[in-house]
Symmetry: C2
Amino acid sequence: MEPSLTGLRVLREIAERGSFTAAATELGYTQSAVSRQAAALERATGQRLFDRQAGGVTLTAAGLTLLRHAVVALDAVAAADRELKGLPPERGTVRLGTFPSAGVLILPRALAALRRTHPRIGVTTREATTPALVRALRARTIDLAILASRPPHRPLDDQAPPLEYLTLSETTLLLAVPAGSALAAEDAVELEALADQDWIAGPSSAAEPAMGVWPGAPGRPRIVHTARDWLTKLHLVAAGCGITTVPPGLADAVPPGVRLVEVQGGPAERRRVVLARLPGPCPPAATEIIRALRQEAARQPG
Amino acid sequence: MEPSLTGLRVLREIAERGSFTAAATELGYTQSAVSRQAAALERATGQRLFDRQAGGVTLTAAGLTLLRHAVVALDAVAAADRELKGLPPERGTVRLGTFPSAGVLILPRALAALRRTHPRIGVTTREATTPALVRALRARTIDLAILASRPPHRPLDDQAPPLEYLTLSETTLLLAVPAGSALAAEDAVELEALADQDWIAGPSSAAEPAMGVWPGAPGRPRIVHTARDWLTKLHLVAAGCGITTVPPGLADAVPPGVRLVEVQGGPAERRRVVLARLPGPCPPAATEIIRALRQEAARQPG
DNA sequence: GGCTGGTATGCCTGACTGTCATGGAGCCCT
DNA sequence: AGGGCTCCATGACAGTCAGGCATACCAGCC
């Protein structure tokens, strides 16, 4: 037997989403259909391709090799489709994945600079969580990923081949407080002052410590709002609804009524913005984007 | 809708065989199945892919572009299959197609030389008719083809992109006669002496003038034997059953009882041995084979 | 005008690929 | 420890599709 094209597409989606169910909803299938397709693939290849663990699925080594070839095949039929429709053959466009807050300042500036110097290079971007971006890199659905990393800066997965990382900038975390509040009186506040505060956090996932709350703040954080969007969070802060953490890259973008202060007395909260890609030859369009991103990152030091 | 993998495989086979029926028998299908697959492909792409003419099928421009991508996809899944089975990933092996008599001397010597200088390069060969080889080149089922060409040396098909040709050697035809016969008395015979002779021809096809009979020989040739195999033909000559034409490359291989003579008085019968390939980058293994073939061709001048 | 290549198509069956509904295994939180 | 959640597997079923078979059709050729 032989793997089918839809089987390969399902494989790619599973690799990218990290779970059968997510892949199913993404493809418009039922979870059971995806499960069957996965089983059919394993039957066709005669090997275990998926590591079913609680909470998701990762690809085995065999699954990764099949994925590598599957991407080639799927891209070929997609290219055929485009070419037969008379569309240009997708030349030189780079697919970029970013973690949510990268899209606020670094990315648009770098892209604007790139468009000035290399107007022919096409870029598409996609926002997603860090693990989703890592999976998308491995599924070759994106070419480059801008990720956030906190110490200790470990590799983001342990699959082979290891990803290549390039640090764009290294920053320290800031605290956004309402302009009129007591916390805004000085340029820096003490860690102890953060006890008994209302916090505005990001979408809280069970695994990660809630983004937006200062790590190591004393006491139990009282999360009163959660919002994905930076602008929402900052306006909540301006409205006096709470405080939250922000990367310094946003310094130029804070609305009136919000003040950014440093936090003293705890361990320095250093974050890295990291560019990740699969090892291997780098197409020229991608190197140009990397250059533009590094230049822009250097321009606004953390 | 989307073309299926089997559809693409059928497309490749049609391109290579030049007819639905031939593709069907090759794939173990019925002709009707192939016809339906072809129709499904055209439905999926929304374009006419095949030019149905009497006596066979050629690909349209759209068919050729689809074929180009189809080959990539099919190779990808084949490579995945190999790799998952633990086989080496088919690196550097070149698929060579030859016309029947190339296999006698040029090819084995060139391959022997190549194995001495580059033992790592793998070569597979396949013998077929000239049009089949041209189609196989276009279907990317072979990488290189050794073809025979007679004047006027036109391109062997009119599809795009045009094939690249490289003349390996240019020879003049010889006549194989029984050693004891009257024709063997001199080094050369007159064209008129070829009237009223028994001829040993190749498999006669309706389209081509029978191979083996001297072109322009006076009178109607009397074909008493037909044989594909060179050794068979030469032994028939040795047995006095008739005479036939041979390329001079076989000079070293004639069995006792056979003499090779030239023919005077007619137009020179010049043949070329031509190496053909699709335009585009040439993998290093292929260039090595080309080098070996040219070297061997130069060693035994026609 | 029959014959010999070739392709297209109506009819049928078996397989496959989906959905629906249900069951079972971990993990987390209380 | 147990309830609840999220995940994957699987039995039953239906619609579709891809094959085979038989036949019709078409063009060139003797």
